[in-house]
């Protein structure tokens, strides 16, 4: 492809992107390189490339999402695919159609790629085993959000050249965060040192078995890190009362202007969005000079184009076989 940067010869053969846990560092790098090639499509006056012409992409979203869904839609459009939007609130007690039936029905209409967001961990993997179309995970429960993980490492790599040796803190509700998990897999595979920061009540089970460090003190960590990714407090996922009040949470884990004084001057401040301003992050920090939050959003488009492009390519190869 003309718009693709020259990369090492690499044979991408995954028809589905379900998570970053199973990807090798080479595969992740290959996606990032492919995304670099796609980035300039968005800068042209005619913002379109042809590789998915005649293909149908379904956005199968069972959870609220604005930016991820729009980003996938735009990415598919830029690659000239037709896009079907399917949005439905899922619920474990819902008497409606099962996920499998929904997907099989869509498949009967001749779709090529399913982009799925679902509240159940493993939903994308489950779908990939049961339908013929390529499956891209746009977030499954608190398991993974691979394109977010990819766009995060893409953003860091673009600014810093490489993740090798970087120290990265991921702060907040780790237990319920698919972003934290996808980031962890991608960042550590690319050579960064990741620290999960948050109260013990928001850490997942046996976090010590994960390839990360754990800290309960943002003040101790902030001085040392090159990148800080502030997770959104997801009120809809929090069970019980993992911290006594928002006030107290912000006191210990909020990224304030004051706390930023201790950080390295060139620290990158990230957030997967949408931001609860004043809660996990003060507005001045969110909009400040270290913030790369909008850069993340921009890069998300290129990364999703690359992912759709690659899974489609692999799917066509599989079909030929």
């Amino acid at each position: 492809m003309a718009f693709m940067r020259k990369t090492k010869q690499f044979n991408w053969n995954r028809k589905h992107l379900l998570g970053l846990r199973e990807l090798s560092a080479e595969e992740i790098t290959y996606i990032l390189d492919t995304a670099t090639g796609f980035e300039q499509v968005s800068t042209r006056s005619v913002k379109k490339a042809p590789p998915l012409r005649g293909k149908v992409v379904v956005n199968l979203f069972f959870e609220d999402s604005t930016r991820t869904r729009n980003s996938f839609t735009l990415a598919a459009n830029r690659l000239s695919a037709d896009v079907i939007e399917f949005t439905q609130k899922s619920s474990s007690v819902s008497k409606g159609e099962t996920l499998l039936d929904t997907a099989r029905n869509l498949e009967a209409m001749g779709i090529d790629i399913v982009v799925i967001r679902h509240n159940a961990g493993g939903a994308a993997r489950f779908l990939s085993r049961n339908i013929q179309a390529a499956v891209v995970n746009a977030g499954d429960g608190f398991c993974e959000h691979p394109t977010q993980g990819l766009l995060d490492v893409y953003t860091i790599r673009k600014i810093r050249g490489s993740l090798e040796g970087l120290k990265i803190a991921i702060v907040g509700d780790i237990a319920h965060s698919r972003v934290a998990r996808s980031d962890m897999w991608a960042m550590t595979k690319l050579g960064a040192e990741v620290t999960f920061v948050g109260p013990p009540t928001l850490m997942p089970s046996q976090v010590s078995k994960l390839p990360v460090k754990v800290s309960y003190s943002l003040d101790e960590v902030i001085e040392k890190v090159d990148v800080i990714n502030m997770l959104r407090i997801q009120f809809e996922r929090l069970g019980g009362n993992p911290f006594p009040s928002i006030r107290e949470y912000s006191r210990y884990f909020g990224l304030t202007v004051e706390r930023m004084q201790k950080a390295k001057p060139d620290i990158l401040v990230m957030h997967p969005g949408p931001i609860n301003r004043g809660l996990e992050m003060e507005s001045e920090v969110a909009d400040g000079k270290n913030s790369v939050i909008l850069e993340q959003v921009k890069n998300g488009l290129a990364v999703r184009m690359a992912v759709l492009f690659l899974v489609n390519q692999a799917a066509m190869v599989t079909k030929e076989k």
Partner: protein, 434 residues
């Protein structure tokens, strides 16, 4: 009760290895059945018209499973008392105990009688039932345990739920002791377990699924043992259902050392499978209590070796394929277990040398009979002739398509196993022959 055909006639089982743990018998000899009862065990020269040659086979008391779900009334599309009973005899089980979490819940004497009537109509295996401890399994008000035990309920449990409120549990233990029936608990503190769908640990973390901490089971078991301790003057009998963690094993160990009236049971899946099996989100590995770690499975095996376990059970839990074809988060808990149970226990306990045959058979016959308080599980003279004839050498592949059970939700499909039931005799009548 009407008489069946073979009741009047005699049946002689020749030359098998007769294992009757309750009577300390393990020798090659013959068993004579007359009028549906055990007439004689030993070298028998008598000529009778009906003879089974059991050379090379094991002749044991019929197996007893004190933890099954036959789904009737309410979910007959998954299993009925008839289909479950047929699956039971095909697996050597001559007595089973149904759990009361049906729709409606078994919580009155009429409900108990309904189960018994359906079982009589099915005429396969003996079917017992437990009643609910609390109305609607809600953990609030005691159900009519007196009437239910008069109707034949062998014990009480809110299985599927633990009784959360300690004061309700204390009352249940006291009240049940009046009828000399046992109280069984599905140990799970809901506040700790939360909305978990698998064991809380490394795998729940990387799979992004809500976990149930082992503490949910252990905290309730610990609490219950304290309650039992407080009631020394009552004839309390407490039974911990399907224990699954190393911590629970230690609690049972101490309780037994203190000679408390505490018994427990273990399933084959908690011996053979672990949380790692959930890695591919296959809902056939979703059960409650959840599959734990290798360390827990080893602790359970050690408990069995140490004689701390009173019964091996299947927790046979049928579900429709369409229900199991859901996301792991939403699919129901449980697997069917009757029809491969014996072979799985052989794999888990005999093949690694943890138990010999007599000890295994004991945990499947006289010991569970003692837990629920029925006069079964032995080949004693005059006892009902419930017998399993087992070929311990038969090698086969588990195939869910051969299951008699209406449901096929089973993770063992394709496993190569050894040990198969060839004939099942209930009250002197051959109810299953392979």
């Amino acid at each position: 009760m009407w008489k069946n055909k073979t009741m009047d006639t005699e049946l002689l089982i020749k030359n098998g290895r007769v294992i009757d743990p309750a009577n300390n018998i393990d020798k090659v000899c013959d068993v004579l059945i007359a009028d549906g009862k055990i007439a004689e065990v030993g070298k028998i020269e008598k000529q009778v018209p009906n003879v089974i040659d059991a050379t090379g086979k094991l002749v044991t008391p019929g197996l007893i499973d004190i933890h099954v779900h036959f789904r009737e009334p309410g979910d007959e599309e998954e299993e009925t008392i008839a289909s479950g009973s047929a699956a039971a005899v095909a697996a050597g089980y001559t007595s089973v105990v149904c759990m009361p979490n049906t729709k409606p819940v078994i919580e009155t004497e009429t409900d108990v009688e309904y189960v018994h009537r359906k079982a009589r109509q099915a005429r396969k295996t003996h079917v017992y039932t437990m009643g609910a401890i609390t109305k609607g399994l809600e953990g609030v008000e005691l159900a009519e345990m007196g009437f239910m035990s008069e109707a034949g309920a062998v014990g009480f449990t809110d299985d599927g739920h633990g009784v959360q409120d300690p004061s309700v549990m204390l009352r249940a233990l006291k009240y049940a002791s009046m009828f000399n029936v046992f109280i069984a608990q599905h140990c799970q503190d809901d506040r700790i377990a939360g909305n978990g769908v698998m064991n809380a640990g490394y795998y729940s973390t990387i799979l992004g699924l809500p976990g149930m901490d082992p503490l949910a089971e252990e905290a309730m078991l610990w609490r219950d043992i304290q309650l039992v301790k407080k009631l020394p003057e009552q004839k309390v009998r407490y039974h911990a259902q399907h224990i699954s963690t190393a911590g629970s094993v230690e609690l049972i160990r101490v309780a037994k050392k203190d000679s408390l009236p505490v018994t427990c049971e273990v399933t084959p899946h908690h011996l053979l499978l672990t949380e790692e099996n959930c890695s591919e989100y296959d809902t056939n590995y979703k059960m409650n209590p959840p599959l734990r770690t290798k360390k827990d499975a080893e602790a359970l095996k050690q408990a069995i070796a140490d004689g701390l376990v009173d019964a091996l059970v299947t927790d046979h839990a049928p579900h429709l394929q369409s229900e199991k074809e859901l996301e792991f988060l939403t699919a129901p808990f449980g697997i069917v277990g009757l029809e491969c149970a014996l072979a799985l226990f052989v794999k888990a306990l005999i093949e690694p040398g943890i138990l010999d045959w007599p000890r295994l058979i004991s945990l499947l016959t006289d010991k569970p009979a003692k837990v629920i308080g029925i006069d079964k599980g032995t080949l004693g003279i005059g006892k009902q002739a419930d017998i399993a004839i087992i070929n311990p050498e038969t090698k086969y592949k588990i195939d869910i398509n051969t299951f008699v059970s209406k449901s096929k939700n089973c993770p063992y499909h394709g496993w190569k196993v050894k040990g198969k039931v060839e004939k099942t005799i209930v009250q002197g009548e051959i109810r299953y022959a392979s």
